[in-house]
Each structure stands twice: as structure tokens, then as C-alpha cells.
């Protein structure tokens, strides 16, 4: 298992800058996701680590040693591709044996390792099948097994679950995570699915337009996003523009906004008069018919604009003062009709502030 370090990595394709000077340090046995929308540079970064792209600038280190001079076959990596890339003219066993043959592993040991890996991915007995005889999920597990059987230093996955249907994707997330934890291999996982990244990662690196905006644990990314883009990409957010008026006796900041006065238990220090953006997650807002009188909680009035039923929750869009719309998550059985006047309550410590 290796520590992976990416230092000031850049990659241009002619005029286009795909990766713009990113830094990343991944500890041994850690799974870090590169999360971002299409075109943000996450796949290009992964391919630079694998050796299929040559960076325009920067360094990539495995355990402190620069690997940029090495071709992909010499980097001792295991890679899982989005469309599995299983060799169609070889059986499952032959696919699994391929990497071992390249490493000249003796036959007896090869057979033992293949048997172990088939057991690990829960596909014992499938050795003589051809890839086209397997389902999508089975193919993906074999692809995973093929990358792991060679016991590489680093595991690289390029949106491996993107081609699976939703239910299977959810199951496979847990499978991939538990497998990775068991084997304890340093892993880089590229995805655009934020739920997936939240479930499987030790840390997430959120990327936009070639740069990393934030690296942190799923909780940090969700609760304390550093920018609007990050907050917007992970889950739903309500953004309220506000100005700092001061602090109250309890130490909470008092902010002035188009929706009224808002209190926030934000931790970092803010200057008086500073213009900021306040973030409140939809699930932090409680809808009430009567004006809430809880001390320290914020109360915003509005009117129910839209309502949609999602099964486990009902989503609301509340029209508030000054054209603002708050997205709120409510219980599925609550009955607020469209057009009803409503109060939105959220606690001061459920807010987060990002500077402008």
C-alpha cells in the first residue's frame, strides 16, 4: 500500500486547461473521491496518476518517489474502468490471470489467488464464463477482482458504477467500500454522483473546472462547504444574502437580510457590515402554521409555492419576502396546501456562512 501525493498537477490539451495546478495527499489505505460535474478534470487527473496522460506540469509521487517517468505498466496500479473493459475473448479466469501472468506469478500461486479473489467478489464457480455471459454487476465485480488480484500499490476507479441501474449502484457502493476497507488499499475514486462519494469516501476532493475547491470528510463537505459551488453541488442548499449587523448576548451573529433578521451560530469571526451568504439546508427548516417562539431560532414567514411528494419526504418551495424561495424538506404526511401562509423555523446552529 502506498501513500499517493499529487503536487501542483496541471494538464492542458492545446488551448484547454483540463487540470489547473492541483495538490492532493492521500494516506495509506485511504479512499479519496474526486467529485465534480462533467468536465471538471477529475478523470484527467486519474488518468495522469495511471499514466495514460502525461501532465503538462507537476509531480505525482508514490511513497515519495516520482513516478512520472514510468509507463502505466510499470506503476503497479490496479484500475477499474467505467465500462469494465473485461477482455471479451478471455474467460473470467483468464481475465483474472492476465495481470498475474504479466508478473510471472507461478501457476500454483496464480490458481490460489484467483480462487481467493473469486470468493472475495462472491463469484465462485464463474471462472469459465465469458464476460458477455455475465450481468453488468457481475462484470463490474470481476473488473474489481482483476484489479485487486495483482495486489497493486494503488487502486484507481473511474466512475465504475455509472453504467449500473440505480438499485444495483446503491448495493455495489457498499460492496466496493467494504472490499476496499478489507483489503486496505490506497484508493482514488472518480465520480459525479455525490451520494456515492458521501457513502464510500474517507475524504472527498470536490473539483470544478480543473481545480479542487475543497478536500474534507463527507461531514465537513456537507456541513461546512467553503464555496457556493461546493454547497450547491452537494445536496440542496438555500442561499440567503445577508449583511453582518453584530453579535447578540449569546454570541450568535445577527444578520440583516431581505427575509428579515437571521441569527447564525457561525464559528469563524466576521466583521461588522460584511456581506456574506448564509446557507441553510432544506432538512434543517421546520414548517409551522403559527409563528414559532423558540428562543434563538430563526422564523421566516412565507407562502407555500410548490409541493412535491418523494415518498420518504415531501419537498416544498416557499415564497418569501423579496422574491426569495426557500427549499424545505417536510415529513411525507404533513398537509400544507399550496398558497397557505407558513412559517419556516431553523436553529441558529444549523446555518453556515460563506464569505462572498
Amino acid at each position: 500500500m502506498a501513500r499517493l501525493a499529487v503536487k501542483d498537477l496541471s494538464k492542458r490539451f492545446g488551448e484547454v486547461v483540463a487540470v489547473d495546478g492541483i495538490d492532493l495527499e492521500i494516506e495509506e489505505r485511504e479512499l479519496v473521491s474526486l467529485l465534480g460535474p462533467s468536465g471538471c478534470g477529475k478523470t484527467t487527473t486519474l488518468r495522469c496518476i495511471a499514466g495514460f496522460e502525461t501532465p503538462t506540469a507537476g509531480r505525482i509521487l508514490f511513497d515519495g518517489a516520482d513516478i512520472l517517468g514510468l509507463p502505466p505498466e510499470a506503476r503497479n496500479i490496479g484500475m477499474v474502468f467505467q465500462n469494465y473493459a473485461l477482455f471479451p475473448h478471455m474467460t473470467v479466469t483468464q481475465n483474472l490471470a492476465f495481470g498475474l501472468e504479466m508478473r510471472r506469478v507461478p501457476k500454483a500461486e496464480m490458481a490460489a489467488r484467483i480462487a481467493r479473489v473469486l470468493e472475495t467478489v462472491q463469484l465462485e464457480g464463474y471462472g469459465e464464463r465469458y464476460p458477455r455471459q455475465l450481468s453488468g454487476g457481475q462484470q463490474q465485480r470481476i473488473a474489481l477482482g482483476r484489479a485487486l488480484v495483482i495486489e497493486p500499490r494503488v487502486l484507481l476507479l473511474d466512475e465504475p458504477l455509472a453504467n449500473l441501474d440505480a438499485k444495483l449502484r446503491e448495493e455495489m457502493r457498499f460492496f466496493v467500500r467494504s472490499l476496499q476497507k478489507r483489503v486496505g488499499i490506497t484508493t482514488v475514486y472518480v465520480t459525479h454522483d455525490q451520494a456515492e462519494a458521501m457513502v464510500i469516501s474517507d475524504r472527498i476532493a470536490v473539483m470544478f473546472q480543473g481545480g479542487i475547491h475543497q478536500i474534507g470528510t463527507p461531514t465537513e463537505i456537507y456541513m461546512r462547504p467553503v464555496s457556493r459551488e461546493v454547497a450547491n453541488f452537494i445536496g440542496l442548499s438555500n442561499f440567503i444574502e445577508a449583511r453582518v449587523r453584530g453579535r447578540d448576548e449569546g454570541g450568535a451573529y445577527v444578520l440583516e437580510s431581505a427575509l428579515g433578521e437571521i441569527r447564525s451560530a457561525h464559528l469563524d469571526s466576521l466583521r461588522e457590515g460584511e456581506a456574506v451568504t448564509l446557507i441553510v439546508r432544506p432538512e434543517a427548516i421546520v414548517l409551522l402554521k403559527d409563528k414559532p417562539d423558540r428562543v434563538g431560532a430563526n422564523a421566516i414567514s412565507g407562502r407555500v409555492k410548490e409541493r412535491y411528494f418523494l415518498g420518504n419526504i415531501t419537498g416544498y418551495r416557499i415564497a418569501c419576502a423579496g422574491d426569495a424561495v426557500l427549499q424545505v424538506q417536510g415529513e411525507p404526511w404533513a398537509a400544507f396546501a399550496i398558497g397557505d401562509p407558513i412559517w419556516c423555523r431553523f436553529d441558529a446552529d444549523k446555518t453556515w456562512i460563506i464569505g462572498d
Binding site: 495511471a50 495514460f52 502505466p72 484500475m79 477482455f87
Partner: protein, 285 residues
Amino acid sequence: MRANATLLLIAPTVGLLVGFLVIPYLNMVVMSFRTPSTSQVFAPGYTFANYLKAIFDPDFYYLRVLRDTMALGVTTTAICLVLGYPVAYHLARTPSRFKSILYAFILSPLLVGVVVRCYGWMIILGNNDGLINNILRDLGLIQTPIQLMYNTFGVSVGLVHIFLPFMILPILGAIQSIDPALEEAAQSLGATRLKTIFRVVFPLSLPGVQAGSVLVFVLTISAYVTPILLGGFKVVIMPTLVIQQLLDAMLWPFGAALAFILSFSGAVVVYLYFMATSWFMKGIR
């Protein structure tokens, strides 16, 4: 209604094939059983004598020529495969801007007529005054000229030159349809570029290799002008003999018998080739 429209669309092509291929072929087969005659194209009556002569007489001569023809076909195909595969791979995988120039180079032999092409080779390969012989003599590397023409070597060079595009293009198509991710997967598992080509690309491109090989083979065993111009009458192959019998000796029935033996043997070789390679292609479908 739809079936009729389809039939109508393919009718002209089928008509062409039947009228100009199937019927003449059958006519040729019938001709091969007719009695030969020196005064007219054929005499009345049918006989097996043509085939008996072709196989046994004299001294299995015609069978030896058949063997030489098949051998020429196999060696030309093999050389085209060895030379053509790397070109096809490079063209399929290279992102360079010179692709279209390379395409043009590959197709260039087809742009020139067969006679002009052969004369071009005669200038280069000429036994006494050819370009190569002159250069080697001027450099002092040889005293007597090397026999590059009027032998199997010269004929092979000319045939490989013209048939290379027929090998390259089907293989190119086959390689282009192989997902590049497969090669990357092989490399990520530790295979060098070369190993990847042998273990992954080549097996998956076999349909293209098959198509190219069969094309070059059948074209070679039926080549007429190139072997005559570059081989003189020293290189005797079946097409030469067939034409001789038909045009010089006016023995149409015998010529027809030789032609049929040639095409039948070619078909057998192609069939055996498909049997052999299909065994390798189990996993690919």
C-alpha cells in the same frame, strides 16, 4: 409489402451476379467436361479426359504448378500480414495529423494501372540494369548482378505491393472497432505495448485479419499480368496456364478444367483457413 420492396431493391445486383458470375461459372464447369478439339472450340460429347489429363499427365506437372500457385498465395498473404498489420495498427491508434497522407500512401498502388506498376518495378528490380543492381554495383558490394526479376522473388514483390491495401484496410476497420479502454486495461495490469497488441488487440482483430488474408490469397492465386511481366515465363502459375490453354492452344475444355481445379483448390484452402482460425475466435462474437 415490405418484402417485395426489398426484393425489388436487391434484384438488379442479384441479376448482375447471376448473369455475369454464376451462369458463366456454370458454363465453364460444363465446358470442362466437353471433348477437346484442335479445329474448333470444342467437339460434341462429354468426357472426364480433361480432368484426368490435368491431374496425372504428364508427370503430375499441372499439380505441381497448382502447388506452386497455392504456395505463392500463402507466402504473399503471410508477407502482407506481417507488413500490413503494424501499418493498420498505427493508423488506427495514432492521433497524428498525417493520417490522411498515410491513407493516401496506402491506397497509392491502386491508383496506378497494373502494367505501369509492373514497369516501375522492372526499373527498380531489373537484373542487369535495374536501380538496385546499379547501386550495389557502384558501391562495390557485388560483382555480378543479383537476380531480382523473372523469378518468384520479383513476382512476390509486385504482388505484395498491390495487395497490401487489401490486407491493411480490413484490419484497420477491425482495430478501430476495438475499445481503446481494453488496451489501457491491459497496460494497467502490467502489459507492455507489444504484449498488449499480441494478447489483446490481435485476437480481437482476427475477423479483419481473416477478411484481409482471404482477399489477398484469392487475388494472388488468380493474378495474371503481374506474374507474367515480373516473372517472364520462368514463373509458371495456374492463371498463366489457363490463359495459355484458352488463347494459345485454343483448348477451351482443358483450360476450363484447369480453371475449375484452381478455383476449387482455392476454395478448399480458404475453407481450411476459416476452420483453423474459427477455433481461435471462440470468445469473440
